[in-house]
Point group: C2
Chain length 530, copies 2
Amino acid sequence: MTDPRTGKNLTECDSFTKLSSHALVQPSRELTAERVNSCDVDAGGGLRFNYAASCVNDAMLADLEALCDEQKLHDQYQTLYEGGIMNVGEDRLVLHHLLRGRLGSSVSVDGTDIGAFYREQTERVAAFARAVHAGEIVGSTGKQFRTVVQIGIGGSDLGPRALAIALQGYAHTRHGHPRMQADFISNVDPDDAARVLANFDPETTLFVLVSKSGTTQETLTNELFAIELMERYEISGLAPRKHMVAVTSRTSPLAKSSEYLDAFFIDDYIGGRYSGTSPVGGVVLSLAFGPEIFEELLSGAHEADSSATRPFVENAAMIDAAIGVYNRNVLGLPTTAVLPYSNALTRFPAHLQQLDMESNGKRVNRRGEAVSYPTGPVVFGEPGTNGQHSFYQLLHQGTDIIPLQFIGFRESQRGDDISVDGSTSQTKLNANLAAQIGAFAFGQDHENRNRAFPGNRPSTLIYGKQLTPRALGALLAHFENKVMFQGFLWNINSFDQEGVQLGKVLTKNILSGGEVNPAMEAYTKLLGLR
Amino acid sequence: MTDPRTGKNLTECDSFTKLSSHALVQPSRELTAERVNSCDVDAGGGLRFNYAASCVNDAMLADLEALCDEQKLHDQYQTLYEGGIMNVGEDRLVLHHLLRGRLGSSVSVDGTDIGAFYREQTERVAAFARAVHAGEIVGSTGKQFRTVVQIGIGGSDLGPRALAIALQGYAHTRHGHPRMQADFISNVDPDDAARVLANFDPETTLFVLVSKSGTTQETLTNELFAIELMERYEISGLAPRKHMVAVTSRTSPLAKSSEYLDAFFIDDYIGGRYSGTSPVGGVVLSLAFGPEIFEELLSGAHEADSSATRPFVENAAMIDAAIGVYNRNVLGLPTTAVLPYSNALTRFPAHLQQLDMESNGKRVNRRGEAVSYPTGPVVFGEPGTNGQHSFYQLLHQGTDIIPLQFIGFRESQRGDDISVDGSTSQTKLNANLAAQIGAFAFGQDHENRNRAFPGNRPSTLIYGKQLTPRALGALLAHFENKVMFQGFLWNINSFDQEGVQLGKVLTKNILSGGEVNPAMEAYTKLLGLR
């Protein structure tokens, strides 16, 4: 097994020095139909990754492969899924891949087979969802549950919410309608809970409380808020906590309560932002769409995980990661835009923003030393074609170059479409996508400089037939694995998040009336606190 | 009047050369309670702008004032609202301020008083909304309209949608519930319209079609999609276009049709991303919440517009703009995060992303020459506290410094709150906000470098009592004016968007079977088009 504490910094790699000597490749000069067809690799789950319009030519790709070899990416990935301590800061295993299927050997900790534990929990979630749908498990006043509301924040919110929105159209087509309505409460802002629960039916609503530690301020506050709102209805026999299930670790305060309707467990080896395929996402998605849909999502994710073990030239996640490092560390480009041409992926960029920026927004390597090079970029995005009428102006004609990650599907989710002027909306959508890739690569000369486009703005494309649960699972896992490989290349720990701690401590100080820096005290007064 | 064609480039300004000689000020070194209280200016509409935690000290602020003087910001603003041709590329006036109230003299074009025209349209919108609410204007089968669905994209979507979401909680408190449900269709992706219209009632739904040119591909396609979905119900007497009003320019194809229930007009002097306070936002907001709420929004915006005429040291929008240019052009920081501690502002960052990046994502000055310095930054953001559990990791401990724009309010919108552990959720929300400003400024030493925070990460704060329509209008206008002033400082045209054109042309080529670059042709095949 590779010991992550012995990893090299990026700038210590001979292959990186060689890479840095490459001149910037201009996508427009390289981009031919042959290249579009050859720079195209399977990404698992029916998806493909196309990097023809990136800045990387064959020679650079060979050097990037050498870099991935020098940084032992395949070994590190294997160490991770075989149960090595890859989260060095927190001295933990990193096992979210095991949620989706087994790569390599089984993993045991203190005699417990972790894969068996995860499978058991997934099966418990499926059985629970089936019993709720069948009306075998009902609310405390005997009524069937119709709505599920997840209370969680960060990884317990963004991923599950993005996935729930993404599956809405698919479930609509498959079943006529989703099994249960799903909504989410995350923010400690009281307006968030008040909005979601403005007109809720306390008898038919099931809450999913998600907090691994069982101590998250926002989530516990919103739990009590939900209970208070339920109690206001003064419904005889209503027992609020019997309308709640917990998703938490086995040792948390939530797990110890017998007041909840049920509890499902995760452990410390599943990071919040990697927990969409655990019960953190599984309970709400299985209730909303059915456990069979969640199973398809898991199998798609496992296909992508498996594809990430392949040799570099066939490894979509690794090539994607390597191109990202080239953009960041050779070209010096500080941001990346994610542009899904699928309205179902409306909140997917917000999930990727957390996944990427929380994983790789680090300035210290795995030996605890400051690194001298840039690590994780700023990630942002909105669906196309909406973005085209918004921030694409800067992407085309701004002073900075922003590498682009396009996502597209040949077919719509719902299949409900209209033909106008000889083409369907889905065709128009994808014509826009192809046109944008071309416009960014080739640009356009014009004697009026205000109408000229410099072009040579690099992009990649992930595409598939349709945004099915399987494709969605693969898409999720592709980006998780890309981010993981980039962490290996940068020699940083992509699995902790110490950067969230200081704000929590200072907030507690303010709320408890403890000693606070005078300037911060002055801000609390501006904000009406003291 | 100032002629924008005679403007100087930023790097031609003596005061900019002087500014560039300043060393980086570390917020932690400067940030005292006295500074928090003194670096605090009125922004109009009951809002205040606090720049104590920015990178700018008194000496630099004086130099920034000199820069704003040298670039004649007050004169340029006056020229703009007095009707100068400030959109030089398109040879147009820029008159969105006139929608909210009159600054300076009246503006006439070809003998028409433009202010009177705008007021007339606003009054027509208000009268229409009142008649719909009163049941005097009803659907074609005689039923009262209950739902309003806006069909528009870009500026016809992001601003109005962000404002509608932001006012939901306020309207809920004021009226018990909004007057009408509001939803939005924007994307040409057929799944967008299919989702919104999955279970709609064609008899009680009123569509607002928004396209200034009357030729926007996405909007016209979605209009026909909505009509087809209405016709599928086969309701006797149902006349789909009598369930539609148009918001467009007087010369557009939409304006010429008598088929619509009604039409409201804007003109070429209102850019899409600046049109939230025109009928583009006014129709849907007046229908959803009542014209009196929209009037309050306009008056808040006008207060902010008026405050932007003040001397530099009392001018929130100008100071904000100047600090942004310092961050971008002196410190070389390429991104800005907008972080509202108000869940009602969930989609406000997406609007600002368009406003800022489409306005100032330009590489050519107002004389049509390439500029040698960076212009508009990448703008992104999500509400706090959600972001704290997501991308804040990178903001705190990443390798790059991201300037932050915080937004906060002393009171929640709905007033529905809960006290847990001795504090309300609203208090917790703002304790988090104050703690974050402190954490970013001061950081924290730690012997374990992984738990150390470098601090000295600059921020500003816009705050007020409550997110009322008046405060929301002021917030909208503050950022519009900030972006405008930055455009003046950079000597670029913030009011055109030539960068969106190339993609449109290439899309048309693909759809019409015209000649297309072979690589782009290869992409269309991957995406299932040919």
